[in-house]
């Protein structure tokens, strides 16, 4: 029996030739990541066991991105804990101020994570790096704190589910729509404890932004990780970027899967997830009349330059409706600069948009666009739970950047073909 790509990466990091689902392994960690919300607890744990040294100062990565630039005194105090720890332990990868970006956009961009890596992060969207062909999963602060000391983590080898995306994508349909459609099909616990492997020509034809986006939302189906086998497109992305050696793994033809699902993407239109779960998906033609107060384009899911280019295509020579606050958040400083150099900011400003510095900000109801009671937002983010972007009686509708931009113009949920 062959192995899946996930099993191969886990085996390589557990020092063996093979692993099987259900097996408990102790694995070597290539990168251990935390942010300004989760790192303070991890650091408290690290220090509580009497540890004085991180296992590798180049592999423990701290990124203050959630409530930054610090939104209040308490947030500033949390970032201070990270800053002082990073200084004390001389961490190579600590980014703040004008170097700060949304962690899951920043790490791939800087080549800190690469194909074949085993990455754990005290952030549930750590699974994003599966788009590069890495095994990456979210953990809590205690597990992260322990890994900061030992460079190891114990894991249960997950069963794998295979999702085959066949056919050609419709206009304005992208990775975000495929993952929303999948979550709508299997539910928010449809992949609980499992690995989601995405294959098929619609996926292999996709640029890195779409792949990272699909793997980013694997957690919204309860998965341990999402993963896409690396190929020529991955190679082009990581070459000249990767800071460490990397390895391409792929699943064996006779690898075992608990489920195989096949989708014909030519039947999939842009998707919108209605409140209050990512599984409440509908095609854009079925959304009805949903007036909006805000549109957010950004986040670790859809804040990359490709996403901003799509938004600009829609927004060029158009304006956001008077009743809609359009907030655009380039996810990293490099994306910010590229958007500026490409003239996208002019399009956005002419459209009446607010351009935010890189931050997670409103995605988790932190700052930079919080919703009042009864308000509704369309967002390219990943969660639409109760109160996610502000007041518990506000609503979030998840979509891709084209739909979010078109909806901002229409003043209500709308697809690019409806404006």
């Amino acid at each position: 029996m062959g192995m899946t790509i996930t099993e191969k990466i886990l085996a390589a990091h557990a020092g063996g030739d093979r692993v099987v689902p259900g097996e408990l392994i102790n694995a070597r960690v290539d990168i251990a990541l935390a942010n300004d919300i989760t790192a303070p607890i991890a650091i408290r744990g690290f220090e509580s066991v009497g540890a004085t040294k991180v296992y590798d100062r180049e592999r423990v990565v701290l990124i203050p991105d959630h409530f930054t630039p610090a939104k209040d005194i308490d947030s500033a105090m949390q970032v201070k804990i990270l800053r002082e720890f990073a200084q004390k332990h001389e961490l190579t990868h600590y980014y703040e101020g004008g170097e700060a970006g949304v962690e899951h956009a920043l790490l791939p961009e800087k080549g800190i994570v690469g194909p074949g890596d085993l990455v754990i992060g005290a952030d549930s969207h750590t699974c994003t790096y599966g788009g590069l062909g890495a095994f990456a999963t979210g953990v809590g602060s205690t597990d992260l704190g322990a890994a900061m000391v030992t460079g190891e983590v114990w894991l249960k080898v997950p069963e794998s589910m295979k999702f085959i995306f066949k056919g050609e994508l419709n206009p304005w349909v992208e990775g975000k729509d495929l993952i929303l459609y999948t979550i709508g099909d299997i539910g928010v616990d449809g992949a609980l404890y499992r690995s989601m492997e995405f294959v098929g020509e619609a996926v292999t034809g996709m640029e890195m932004a779409g792949r990272l986006c699909m793997c980013n939302m694997a957690i919204e189906a309860g998965a341990k990780n999402g993963i896409i086998a690396p190929d020529k497109i991955t190679q082009a992305y990581v070459s000249g970027r990767a800071l460490r050696e990397y390895t391409f793994y792929e699943s064996d033809p006779d690898a075992a899967y608990v489920t195989v699902k096949e989708y014909d993407v030519s039947t999939i239109e842009p998707q919108v997830a209605f409140p209050h779960l990512p599984e409440n998906t509908r095609g854009i033609s079925e959304v009805g009349d949903v007036p909006l107060d805000q549109a957010v384009i950004g986040s670790c899911t859809n804040g990359r330059i490709e996403d901003l280019r799509v938004a600009a295509k829609i927004l060029k020579d158009r304006r956001a409706a008077k009743n809609v606050r359009l907030i655009i958040i380039p996810a990293t400083p490099a994306i910010y600069r590229a958007a500026m150099d490409e003239g996208l900011f002019e399009i956005f400003m002419d459209a009446g948009a607010i351009i935010s510095p890189p931050t997670c900000g409103p995605c988790l109801g932190g700052h930079m666009g919080i919703l009042a009671k009864g308000e509704r937002a369309v967002a390219t983010t990943n969660r639409n739970f109760v109160g996610r972007m502000g007041h518990p009686e506000s609503e979030v509708y998840l979509s891709n950047p084209a739909v979010a931009a078109a909806s901002a113009v229409a003043g209500k949920l709308a697809g690019p073909n409806q404006i």
């Binding site: 408290r44 744990g45 066991v49 809590g140 205690t142 597990d143 616990d189 609980l192 988790l364 109760v386």
Partner: protein, 162 residues
């Protein structure tokens, strides 16, 4: 080890934003988090809950974020145990790591708010005191009970080292 407490029942897919909204995550002090525990699901929960009470949820309890603040908030609110048919993966691990006992019980939907429940961690038996009805689940092994009683993984390790 046995515990006894009043049941607070919640629905399916209780996410980590319902357990502790992100607007309170600018501070990780357990007492601060406890005040806002379950706030967006039941705004008065933190005032109403008594020490030792039990939270019962539906499937996929704790889905969403990796924030350890979620089990910390539940525990600091005085809750002794969470019971649900299934838990989200990261929450499951975070709960034990922070010293919050949790039990998977597929018949948890038969429990309701206000029930008095006796839970025996050694046998994995739940007793609905009013009705006398029992439910069986997996026992919590002694080392995991020790981990919970120590207050989580790190205090447990410290205790073992000393």
């Amino acid at each position: 080890m046995k515990i006894e407490g009043k049941v607070w029942k919640f629905g399916n897919d209780i996410d980590t934003d319902l357990i502790i909204p992100a607007r309170y995550l600018n501070n990780s002090d357990p007492e601060h988090l406890a005040k806002h525990c379950m706030e967006d699901a039941d705004p008065e929960f933190a005032q109403k809950v008594s020490a030792g009470d039990i939270v019962v949820g539906g499937k996929n309890f704790g889905c969403g974020s990796s924030r350890e603040h979620a089990p910390i908030a539940i525990k600091a609110a005085g809750v002794s145990c969470v019971i649900a048919p299934s838990f989200a993966r990261i929450f499951y691990r975070n709960a034990f790591n922070t010293g919050l006992a949790i039990l998977e019980c597929e018949n948890a939907d038969q429990l309701k708010s206000g029930d008095h429940l006796s839970v025996d961690f050694d046998t994995g038996t739940l007793l609905q005191i009013e009705s006398g009805k029992t439910f069986s689940t997996h026992p919590i092994p002694p080392f995991m009970q020790d981990l919970v009683n120590s207050g989580g993984l790190l205090p447990y390790i410290r205790k073992r080292i000393s």
